[in-house]
Amino acid sequence: MKVKTINRSEEEAARERAQDVQKVHRNLDPALHPFEKAKEYTRALNAAKLDRVFAKPFLAALTHDDGITCLARNPRRLNSLLSGSADGDVRLWDIPARRCLRRLVGHSAAVKGISVTADGEACVTCSTDCTVKLWKVPFAPFEGGPIVEDAHPVLEFSGKYAFRSVDHHWGRPQFATGGAAVEIWDHERSEPVQTFSWGADTITSVRFNPAEPDVFATTGSDRGIALYDLRSSTPIRKLVMQTKTNAIAWNPMEAFNFTAANEDCCLYTYDMRRLASASCVHQDFVSAVMDVDYSPTGREFVAGSYDRSARIFSLNGGHSRDVYHTKRMQRVFAVRFSGDGSYVFSGSDDMNVRIWKAEASEQLGTLLPRERKKHAYNKALVERHKHLPEVARIVRHRHLPAPIYKAAKLRRTKIDSERRKTQHRIAHSAPGSVKVKPARKKKIVAEME
């Protein structure tokens, strides 16, 4: 006769000292874990709810004396942001301390563009007072002190017309300005070294390609997006759309792709090698999109609109991932991602630069490993159950201000009725006689070489 029974000793299960962690035994046998799926679903539901509960993206507002017209981040320093306002004032901000470090005073009219040099030591600002100024951008001091006013730019360039935008070259001491024409300036010269023009239009934004040092793109008031190469004396290619494009941003990781912020409430992502059709149309805004900027990861971008909201889109997402608005925020004229991709800045007409979290419910500060794992688990749960109706409803829900909500509803109605009409038209005409353009091509008027 052989007898063996379960015999556990409490000493083995107990920890030796009070400082030790408690011993944990796992037995992964499914028989001991009933209701796996139901539990996971419940957890996913809770995770989705918690995500919405903690979605408090607004962090701080930095004030100016007039509406914000442009923003720029320093490519070499995470904590630094420059903002230009309609009264000609440029301010350098220390983001973690949420204070102004320096005011760059000198422009007599609205500052329309700021760009920081690739080494992060200086910045160029352009204004409607027909000047471009180059300023030293100091380090952020460690101690708080009085705001220093700097009225002495290092260099000053004067042009013949009001400037609308500026972008500094990624490598050379050169920058491009947009106004009545596109001009390339050198730090050493007081006159532009190169001038491009294609028709008589105003250039509203200029952006250098981050990978190909000689290529840059502009948008103009003639509804065109033009691509230029510094090595040739004429522009390479131009795309004319039905409505004006306000701003443009290159994808920093796939530098042949760029996204254009259009007046028709949509953003269009194009491949510069194939301009015949947009690769993605991003919609959700209800008014003109004013500015767009990519995250350094190249997977997301932020856009600000005239409808008083900023939205974050994923690279290939047709609809926005998140929408940011406050009661007091007015028309958004400038948006920027932070250098680490975890914050978003928006500059609006109500004289404030606002700092937002890029991920609305993200926990700030140093995370313990357990916290990090928990967040990852919750995220995976929501991702896995996002198709289930209850989870989808919670994840999708965003509160919108009444004007935006109503406008979006109206817009939806219009689009639906148009679609219905087209369907009817197709059904009641000879097959093949009604040509329907896809949304990606609909707004393209012409492509010029």
């Binding site: 006769m1 007898v3 063996k4 379960i6 408690q22 035994h25 009933p34 539990k39 419940t42 957890r43």
Partner: protein
């Protein structure tokens, strides 16, 4: 493959796992693998393949944990030579067993207030006793420590622990009461009257009761709300058990039927005629595969809970009053003073029991297997005793499910997590794996639906047409609504097939709108005649 050999010799890099590993891993497989080969959508295919890989890795990791990190082996009782395991008495087993095991076999002589019913916590550490005459006692039985004792001076039919050992419910003469671990009455559940059997669904926080009125009540113990009350309409009910796999309650009735209930449906989801005569006791196994019923007709029947079919039946010389199934699938059946324990009795019919035991103290009233222990706790008319049943309990516990050595802090933490993971009563369904699954309609059903929709459409069109033709009067023909309705009748769609048919018959090609030459000649029209004059020729 020999494990030692594998350790000594350097194993080849991409070695297939041995058959032992495969069978071990099969335990952790959830459902069949998704066939991705024929999926056309590349993104979906990639995602599914990635998920499949993760699932495979998790399965392999779980199998490894199972192999290396679960140290304890289940208990066993082996006979040598001419011995038979069912001939061993408890005294012999206790003598032959280890010293620790001997402490677990005890007899509590409580002859005045019996017979006793009992319950264990889910970790098996605490035991709850309830004497019929109102004696309630909560024991930390493995340490032989009495936590609380109370005399309620009222008939007590049944007791059950709530989500942990802090609270327990007792079905008393009129109402059901909830007590805390100090023995203080916390709640009187005035809605739950005349309950005789209690069950607690720990994942849903539902206290279920049924009794003389034949009403099955679900009460949420975290909110206090009565979730549902089902009138069984089968008279007083004295047999209740839960299926721990899906939370469905099984009720045994006086007319020999067993009904399965969920809170969502007001009628039984399943009703089975199991016995010729009243059903005495029920027990479901841990994975929801088998149900054992005992009836007054002397039968002990094993049912397949997925197909709802009898598997096999045992005959007990006098009707079995009580039965229970242990974590590792041992079946205990009791009547009078005798208890039999059967091994592997669920999957196949056995010829002889695994163990037998005769109570010295009194007649049996209730017994339960203790989770994670090789112990059967028995309540009888003379008190409470325990019986060692080697191989009954799961040897390896999971600290996050039920920990016999849980500290106070761990208990508090676990309580919070239990509440966070509380399942809604609506999630109790017969197949718990159906939650979060897409139910795709079979192709035949889809086809039928499509055909029905088309038929309805045709009928509507015909009806409309008939209506249009019936009306001869012109009055009201040109009303905007009528015009709209006519448009809606979709004239093109309706006339197109007939038109095409006509054109085909006449030999007119749809593209050019004129007849084929051959067709014209066939119709007796000379080739040089212009089209406008065709109608003057006989067809």
């Amino acid at each position: 493959m020999d494990e030692q050999e594998g350790a000594v010799q350097p194993a080849p890099k991409r070695q297939k796992s041995s058959s032992g590993d495969v069978s071990r891993a099969a335990k952790f497989r959830r459902g069949p693998e998704v066939a991705t080969r024929r999926i056309e959508d590349k993104k979906l295919k990639g995602k599914l393949r990635y998920t499949e890989r993760l699932v495979g890795e998790a399965q392999a990791a779980a199998a490894k944990v199972d192999e290396w990190l679960l140290p304890a082996e289940p208990g066993e009782l082996e006979a040598e030579g001419m011995e038979r395991t069912w001939r061993f008495s408890q005294a012999e087993i206790v003598d032959a067993g280890e010293a620790g095991a001997a402490r677990k076999a005890f007899d509590l002589s409580l002859p005045q207030l019996g017979p006793y019913s009992l319950d264990f916590t889910r970790s098996g550490r605490h035991m709850l006793l309830a004497g019929r005459k109102g004696h309630l006692a909560l024991m930390d039985w493995q340490r032989s420590r009495l936590v609380c004792e109370v005399q309620v001076r009222e008939t007590t039919h049944d007791v059950t622990f709530l989500h942990n050992e802090q609270f327990f419910a007792a079905a008393q003469k009129k109402y059901t009461y909830i007590y805390d671990k100090r023995g203080l009455e916390v709640h009187c559940l005035k809605d739950t009257t005349e309950a005789t059997r209690l069950q607690f669904l720990p994942h849903h926080f539902l206290l279920c009761s049924v009794g003389a009125t034949g009403v099955l009540r679900y009460q949420d113990t975290s909110t206090g709300r009565i979730v549902t009350q089902h009138r069984t309409k089968q008279g007083p009910c004295d047999a209740l058990c839960q299926n721990p796999w899906n939370g469905v309650l099984c009720l045994g009735h006086g007319n020999g039927t067993v009904t399965l209930w969920t809170p969502n449906v007001s009628t039984p989801v399943v009703s089975m005629l199991c016995h010729h005569g009243p059903v005495r006791a029920l027990a479901a196994d841990g994975q929801g595969r088998h149900l054992v019923t005992t009836g007054a007709d002397g039968q002990v029947k094993v049912w397949d809970l997925r197909m709802f079919r009898p598997l096999h039946a045992y005959f007990s010389p006098s009707p079995a009053e009580w039965c229970d199934i242990s974590q590792r699938g041992l079946l205990a059946v009791g009547y009078g003073r005798r208890i039999q324990v059967w091994k592997d009795a669920l999957s196949s019919k056995q010829q002889s029991p695994y163990m037998t035991h005769t109570l010295a103290g009194g007649t049996l009233s209730d017994f339960r297997f203790c989770p994670y222990e090789d112990v059967l706790g028995i309540g009888h008319s003379g008190g409470v005793s325990t019986m060692l049943v080697p191989g009954a309990g799961e040897p390896n516990y999971d600290s996050f499910v039920a920990d016999p050595f849980q500290t106070r802090k761990q208990r508090r933490e676990a309580e919070v997590h239990q509440l966070l993971d509380k399942l809604q009563p609506e999630m109790i369904v017969l197949d718990p794996t159906a939650i979060g699954q897409v139910v795709r309609e079979p192709r035949e059903v889809q086809r039928e639906k499509q055909a029905a929709a088309e038929a309805a459409n045709r009928a509507r069109l015909a009806e409309q047409q008939q209506k249009n033709e019936e009306k001869k009067r012109m009055k009201g023909k040109n009303k905007p609504t009528r015009r709209q309705r006519k448009k809606q009748a979709n004239i093109v769609e309706e006339k197109l097939p007939a038109m095409k048919q006509r054109m085909r018959e006449q030999g007119v090609s749809a593209e050019f709108g004129h007849k084929h030459k051959a067709a014209r000649e066939e119709a007796g029209v000379p080739a040089e005649v212009p089209r406008a004059l065709h109608r003057f020729f006989k067809k």
